[in-house]
């Protein structure tokens, strides 16, 4: 077990300088999700137009892995169709199970090391589970 496999530089960069942190004013779908095992929480907002995610912002409390994952995810899904973002969430799950996955948004691949730290997988998937919830709500809203 090597800590550097988990805490890669790009992860620490997202943790230190999270992208898309904050709130969207008006017209966004807002979802909240908790990680009941540790008390971490996230608020994710999606602004969807014509089935495409125009903007995604988050705020929350969490560890480096959960915040970095949320930061990367909100960047990665920008401009994507809702269904495409769901496919990315599936790909992310597969990566957490140890499968080799490539992302157009390459930073995400840095999180592949989380697979070797089973206790931390929930941290990494919190934002993605919020995304799944947000997509369902966005579709329902139409």
């Amino acid at each position: 077990m090597r800590l550097d496999d988990l805490y890669r530089r790009v992860i620490m960069d997202h943790y230190k300088n999270p992208r898309n942190m904050g709130e969207i004013e008006g017209g966004a779908v807002t979802v909240h999700l908790n990680n009941p095992s540790c008390g971490d929480k996230i608020q994710l907002q999606l602004k969807v137009e014509d089935g495409k995610i125009q903007a995604a912002r988050f705020k929350g409390e969490g560890c480096s892995i959960s915040l970095a994952s949320a930061s990367m995810m909100t960047d990665a899904i920008k401009g994507k169709d809702l269904d495409e973002s769901l496919r990315m969430a599936e790909q992310f799950s597969l990566m957490m199970q140890g499968e080799d996955v490539e992302f157009e948004y390459e930073d995400l691949e840095a999180l592949s090391g989380v697979n070797k730290f089973p206790a931390r997988i929930k941290c990494a998937t919190l934002a993605w589970n919020a995304l799944k919830k947000g997509v369902v709500e966005s579709k329902y809203r139409k």
Partner: protein, 408 residues
């Protein structure tokens, strides 16, 4: 008491984690088990197992003796008046729920009050929330002092003539606060209220005398006191247990069964529907023997020294924030390290072979009171040494360095 010698009786502690000798500092979540407990369970299954209270055959009698013998051991350990006041449960949670379901829900009504504190574990909080909702009773909180203790003046204020039940932890699993149970019992009884004590964090570490504490109910878990998981105890004063209805119905707990009506066995069996956790009770009995042989007073003294040492060593680390009272506290230290999330701290510590707990410790309201989402916690037991605490302190300094570097 020689912790190094005691440690040798815990096979699990003699292993390496991530290339380092294991330092186990999570006993408040669950303690490890000595050989004598593991052997007692093995011996029971290899020689004495059958179902209890029914077999005419020899093994049925041996199993019943083993199970009821464990109950007598628990009764003596807690200084209960009789083994009939000892109900075996799955753990503290089940024990508290039994009182919430079997007593609070049947005896409380609108206008009555249940008084608890914000430092309760979820298992001594949610059962009362639910009971209050179901009965229309009001749930009230004794506020905490800035150092995480409670003031008797506030206890006096919150407990009124309408209070029917007070439920409080003996020792906080986060703050380490030791609550003044005898005083609280006196105040509760003055108003005719019953007192339930959550003893999950006290029973493993100090001598418990339920008659001296004068509590009406006392709940504990076997697995935090060197016993197996899946076994716990509800102690109750006989008159309250008699007044309670069973919560689980079925085999083992009945006296007479008709097509439309049934009657229950006497105490304690009316609360033990179904085949009980026999091997668990045997294991708990062995754990009690083990603890008593060393002596609860010795264990308490040992942990007091360790805690004092930990407060000193950890206090030297720049940026650390330690929660809870500085004196008169249980054997654990809860803290945060700078802005680091406790998950990240615990992961680096684990890489160093040091096992601590990180999270909300089943105390979300208390975390909000502390104004944090989560904390890290190192908790001590009879097998821990000052060297373990040195390893913890060194690993924490490494954690700071690691993230200091990684965060640039």
């Amino acid at each position: 008491m020689n912790a190094l010698e005691i440690r040798k009786q815990f096979p699990i502690l003699e292993q390496e984690i991530n290339g380092h000798p294991l330092v186990y500092l999570d006993s408040a979540a669950s303690s490890q088990k000595p050989v004598s407990v593991i052997e007692a369970i093995k011996r029971y299954y290899e020689h004495d197992h059958a179902n209890v209270h029914r077999g005419v055959h020899t093994l049925g009698a041996r199993a019943t003796d083993a199970y009821e013998g464990a109950r007598e051991k628990v009764a003596r350990f807690l200084n209960a008046r009789s083994p009939q006041e000892i109900i075996f449960t799955r753990g503290t949670t089940t024990a508290i729920n039994l009182v919430a379901m079997g007593y609070a829900r049947t005896h409380l009504k609108e206008g009555d009050e249940i008084v608890i504190t914000p430092m309760e574990h979820h298992s001594n909080l949610i059962p009362w929330q639910q009971a209050a909702k179901a009965t229309g009773a009001t749930l009230k909180y004794i506020p905490l002092q800035p150092d995480g203790t409670i003031a008797l003046a506030d206890v006096e204020k919150q407990i009124t003539a309408n209070t029917k039940l007070v439920a409080i932890t003996h020792v906080s699993n986060v703050l380490g606060t030791i609550n003044p149970i005898k005083d609280i019992a006196r105040i509760a009884h003055k108003h005719g209220a019953l007192l339930l004590v959550d003893g999950a964090q006290s029973t493993p570490h100090m001598k418990i005398d339920v008659q001296e504490l004068d509590c009406d109910f006392f709940a504990l878990s076997g697995h935090k006191m060197c016993g197996p998981t899946g076994i716990g105890v509800l102690y109750g004063k006989r008159e309250w247990l008699e007044a309670m209805e069973p919560v689980e119905f079925g085999g083992e707990m009945i006296d007479h069964v008709d097509l439309y009506e049934s009657t229950w066995k006497e105490l304690p069996w009316k609360f033990e529907g179904g085949t009980p956790i026999i091997a668990g009770a045997v294991g708990l009995g062995a754990a009690i023997d083990f603890l008593q042989e060393i002596g609860l007073d010795q264990i308490e003294q040992h942990e007091k020294k360790l805690t004092q040492y930990a407060l000193e060593r950890l206090g030297e680390i720049e940026g650390i924030r330690i929660y809870g009272p500085t004196e008169e506290r249980g054997g654990l230290v809860t803290f945060n390290l700078g802005d680091l999330h406790p998950h990240d701290v615990a992961t680096v510590l684990d890489a160093e072979g040091v096992a601590i707990r990180a999270g909300h410790h089943c105390c979300q309201p208390l975390m909000r009171w502390l104004n944090v989402t989560a904390t890290a916690r190192a908790s001590f037991y009879l097998y821990n040494t000052e060297e373990d605490i040195d390893r913890l302190a060194e690993a924490l300094i490494k954690t700071k360095e690691y993230f200091g570097h990684a965060l640039g």
